[in-house]
C-alpha cells in the first residue's frame, strides 16, 4: 500500500519538505535543495525530522495516489492530528521511519574529496564525477582530486587530506599492516579495475621470447606495493629468473618510464595504461605481454578509504560505496566505454587525447610490432573484492620479503577487502555477486588455493624469505 518506497538516493539531500499533513501547502514540489553544512550541530536532528517527513509524505502520496487536490480537501476536513492517527492505524508509520533511517541516514559529509591518479585504472572513480553518480547518492559538492604519484596519494589518505582514494590494491593491505608506511587501518570496499597492465619492452628487444632472454635487464614498476611489481616478479620467477638477482627492478613514475625507455636507461617496464600504449605511440617500445595473459581477471587498482572514515561517517561511506559500485558496473559494459572516454579525457581528469583513452578502454590497439589487436578485456571492471585475491597479494608480499614472519592471511584479507559488504550492495542494485568470497585463481597455469597460502609459498623455488 505504500505505493513507492522512499527513494534512498535522495534521503541525504532532502532539505525542506512541506508538511504532508498540512492542507495549506503543496507537497508536489520537489525536495532537493542545497546540501547542508556538515558542521551544523542541529543537522542530525534536522535531517531526522526531514526523513520522518519523507516517510509520512510517501505514505500520504500512496494513499491519495498523488492526487494533490483530494489530499488538501481531506486534511482540511479532518485536521492533521486526526489524519495522522487514522493513517497510523492503517500503516505502521513509526516502523517505516525507523527502517528508512537505518537503511540510509543523514550523510555526515556530502562534499567528499576523492584522490585519483590520472591513469585509465581510475575510470570508475573519475567518471562518477562528470556523470553525476556521486550526486545521485547525495554527495553534492564532492570532487575528485588529481595526485601525481602513489606516495603522494598515500600521504594524502593517511593525513586525511582526502576522504577516499584510488590506490593500488596491495596498498590498503600494506597500510593496514604498517609496511612501508605508518600503520593505519585501511579498507578496500571495491576493486576499481581488472587487468589493464602490460609488459612493455624497448624496440631493440623485439627478439625476446621468454624471461630467459631478459637476464640482465633493467625494469621499472610504479610502486613497491603494486600488482605490477608482484606480477612482473611472478612472471620472471616462473621463467627461472630471480627478480632480485638476475635483473634490476626500479620504482619509477610511469611517465618517466617512457622517457627512460627512450633514453635507453630501461629495457622494459610493467606499468598501467595509457603508458604502455604511449611507448608504442612514441615509437620507443612495443607491448610484449598484456597482464591478462599472465592472470586473466587479476585485480589492479582499488577504491580505498581509512577505517576511521568508514566508522565516523558511516552514511557518507555507504553513499560513496554505492556510487563506486554503480560506476564500476557501468564501466564494465563495453558499450558504455566510448561515452566514458569522452567524459574522463579532458584536462581536469586524465588530460589525454580522447582517442588514446578510447583505444585502452575499448581494447582495439596497435602493439608496436605491426599488429592491431582486439582485446575487449584489455581492461575490465568488477567491484567485487575477492578475499582470495588479498590472500594472494599477501603471499607475494611475504615471498619477496616485504613482510617477515607469520601472516594471518585470512584475518587481514577479510578486515581490508570488504567482500561481504560489497556483495550486499551489488545484490541491492540487482547485480549478481558471487556467493562465496574465496575462490581458486590460476596464474600462468598454476593454481592458487587461498586456503593453503603457506603450501603455495613453499611450492616456489625462487623467493626471498
Amino acid at each position: 500500500m505504500i505505493g513507492k518506497e522512499p527513494d534512498k538516493s535522495h534521503v541525504g539531500s532532502i532539505k525542506s519538505l512541506n508538511d504532508p499533513f498540512d492542507g495549506d501547502v503543496s507537497i508536489s514540489h520537489n525536495c532537493c535543495g542545497h546540501s547542508h553544512s556538515s558542521t551544523d550541530i542541529h543537522q542530525t536532528a534536522d535531517t531526522e525530522a526531514i526523513a520522518d517527513r519523507a516517510i509520512e509524505e510517501a505514505v500520504i502520496r500512496g494513499l491519495f495516489k498523488g492526487n494533490e487536490v483530494s489530499r488538501r480537501k481531506f486534511m482540511k476536513l479532518v485536521g492533521a492530528s486526526t489524519a495522522m492517527s487514522v493513517i497510523s492505524s492503517l500503516f505502521p508509520l513509526d516502523a517505516a521511519k525507523a527502517w528508512a533511517k537505518d537503511a540510509s541516514g543523514a550523510l555526515e559529509k556530502t562534499d567528499l574529496k576523492i584522490g585519483f591518479i590520472p591513469i585509465t585504472c581510475a575510470t570508475p572513480i573519475i567518471m562518477a564525477h562528470p556523470m553525476g553518480i556521486y550526486e545521485k547518492y547525495g554527495l553534492k559538492g564532492s570532487n575528485v582530486v588529481k595526485a601525481a604519484g602513489w606516495a603522494m596519494i598515500r600521504d594524502w589518505a593517511v593525513n586525511k587530506q582526502v576522504d577516499c582514494a584510488h590506490m593500488l590494491s596491495p596498498m590498503p593491505l600494506a597500510l593496514t599492516m604498517g609496511v612501508g608506511s605508518t600503520q593505519t587501518p585501511f579498507l578496500m570496499p571495491a576493486i576499481e579495475n581488472l587487468n589493464g597492465q602490460a609488459i612493455t619492452l624497448a624496440n631493440k628487444h623485439k627478439d625476446v621470447k621468454s624471461p630467459k632472454d631478459m637476464k640482465g635487464f633493467t625494469f621499472a614498476v610504479p610502486f613497491d606495493y603494486s600488482m605490477h611489481n608482484f606480477l612482473l616478479r611472478y612472471y620472471l620467477a616462473e621463467g627461472g629468473v630471480d627478480p632480485d638477482k638476475d635483473v634490476k627492478i626500479r620504482v619509477l613514475p610511469p611517465p618517466e618510464m617512457v622517457a627512460n625507455l627512450k633514453a635507453q636507461n630501461l629495457d622494459g617496464y610493467l606499468s598501467p595504461d595509457p603508458f604502455n600504449q604511449r611507448a608504442v605511440y612514441e615509437n620507443v617500445g612495443f607491448i610484449f605481454k598484456l597482464s591478462k595473459e599472465l592472470w586473466s581477471g587479476h585485480p589492479c587498482c582499488a577504491f580505498a578509504t581509512s577505517q576511521e572514515f568508514a566508522t565516523t561517517m558511516p552514511n557518507s561511506f555507504k553513499a560513496v560505496f554505492n556510487a563506486i559500485v554503480d560506476a564500476t558496473a557501468y564501466s564494465a559494459k563495453i558499450e558504455n566505454r566510448k561515452d566514458i572516454a569522452q567524459a574522463i579525457a579532458p584536462r581536469n581528469y586524465l588530460n589525454q587525447p580522447v582517442e588514446v583513452v578510447e583505444a585502452v578502454l575499448t581494447g582495439q590497439f596497435s602493439d608496436g610490432l605491426g599488429a592491431t589487436r582486439d582485446e575487449p578485456d584489455r581492461i575490465d571492471f568488477n567491484p567485487f573484492p575477492w578475499n582470495s585475491m588479498a590472500v594472494w597479494i599477501l603471499t607475494q608480499m611475504k615471498r619477496w620479503g616485504y613482510v617477515k614472519g607469520d601472516v594471518d592471511y585470512k584475518k587481514i584479507a577479510e578486515q581490508v577487502f570488504l567482500a561481504g559488504e560489497c556483495a550486499q550492495i551489488m545484490r541491492e542494485k540487482g547485480y549478481s555477486p558471487p556467493a562465496e568470497t574465496y575462490k581458486k585463481h590460476v596464474i600462468m597455469g598454476k593454481e592458487f588455493d587461498p586456503h593453503k597460502p603457506e603450501e603455495y609459498l613453499n611450492s616456489f623455488t625462487i623467493k626471498k624469505m
Partner: protein, 257 residues
C-alpha cells in the same frame, strides 16, 4: 666604442633570441625529440588566452596557478623574513651568541629546503602547511645571515650617538639599527626571495599543492612537454619580475654615509 647607442643591446638581445629559436627549431620538432618552438607557442597561446578559468581542483588557468604559488611564496617568505630579521638583530648585537650559533646556522643553511620536506610532511601532516614551511626554510637563512652581518657592522658612531641620546632599546632598533643595516638586509631578502622561488617548484610538485610547480609535474605526468616548457618559461619570468621589484626596493633604501 666608448659610448654604444642605447638601442645596441636590444638588437643584440633579439639576435640571440632568434638564433636560439632557430637552433631549437632545428634540434627539436623531430618525432621523438623535444617539441619545437611552434607547438610550445601554440600551447602558450592556449594557456594565456584565458588565464583565469576554473574547471575544479584539477584544471585551473595559469593566472590562478601563479597566484597560488605567489600566495604560498608570500606567506612563507614573510614568516621567514620576520624570524630572520629578529634573530639577525639579536645575533648582530651579541657577538658572543653569534659566534656560538654560527656553526649551526651554517649547517642548517647548507641543507636544501626540499630535503626537509619529508620530515615536515610527516610531522605537520598537511601538504599545504608543509609547502609554506619549505618556503620558510628556503628564505630564512640568507636574511638571518645578512641581517646579523649588517647589524654587527653598523658604524660605532651611530650606536654611540643613540646611547648619548639615551634612546630606549626598542626605539634604537627601529630608528638606528634597522635603517643603518637596511641595504644589507634587503640584499639578504633578495637572495632569500630567489631561493624561496626556486624551492617552491619542487615543493609543490612533490606535495601536490595547486600552483605552478604542481602544474609542471602534472603535465610531465601526461608527457605533454609543450606545457612543461611553457610552465618553465612562466616560472622564469615571474622570478625575474620578483627580482626586479627587490632591486627597486634596494635602490630606495640605499644611503650614503
Amino acid at each position: 666604442m666608448k659610448k654604444q647607442p642605447n638601442s645596441g643591446w636590444i638588437v643584440l638581445c633579439m639576435v640571440i633570441l632568434i638564433l636560439f629559436l632557430l637552433v631549437w627549431q632545428l634540434l627539436g620538432g623531430k618525432t621523438g625529440g623535444l617539441p619545437g618552438p611552434i607547438p610550445v607557442a601554440k600551447s602558450a597561446w592556449f594557456f594565456l588566452s584565458d588565464p583565469f578559468y576554473n574547471n575544479g581542483p584539477n584544471d585551473q588557468g595559469i593566472g590562478w596557478l601563479t597566484m597560488y604559488s605567489l600566495a604560498r611564496l608570500a606567506t612563507g617568505f614573510l614568516l621567514g623574513t620576520l624570524f630572520g630579521v629578529i634573530m639577525g638583530v639579536i645575533l648582530g648585537l651579541n657577538p658572543v651568541l653569534f659566534k656560538a650559533l654560527n656553526p649551526y646556522i651554517q649547517v642548517l643553511r647548507a641543507i636544501s629546503p626540499v630535503a626537509w620536506m619529508p620530515l615536515l610532511l610527516y610531522s605537520v601532516q598537511n601538504s599545504g602547511v608543509t609547502a609554506v614551511l619549505v618556503v620558510f626554510m628556503a628564505s630564512v637563512w640568507p636574511t638571518l645571515a645578512n641581517t646579523a652581518f649588517g647589524v654587527s657592522n653598523i658604524k660605532k658612531d651611530y650606536i654611540n650617538i643613540a646611547n648619548i641620546l639615551q634612546m630606549n632599546p626598542v626605539v634604537k632598533v627601529f630608528k638606528i639599527i634597522l635603517p643603518a643595516a637596511g641595504p644589507t638586509i634587503v640584499a639578504g631578502l633578495k637572495i632569500s626571495m630567489g631561493s624561496a622561488w626556486v624551492a617552491i617548484v619542487p615543493a609543490e610538485a612533490l606535495l601536490g599543492t595547486l600552483g605552478l610547480g604542481y602544474f609542471v609535474w602534472n603535465e610531465w605526468n601526461n608527457l605533454s612537454l609543450t606545457s612543461v616548457i611553457f610552465a618553465v618559461l612562466v616560472i622564469g619570468v615571474v622570478g625575474v619580475i620578483l627580482d626586479y621589484l627587490f632591486t627597486r626596493l634596494a635602490m630606495r633604501l640605499a644611503y650614503v654615509d
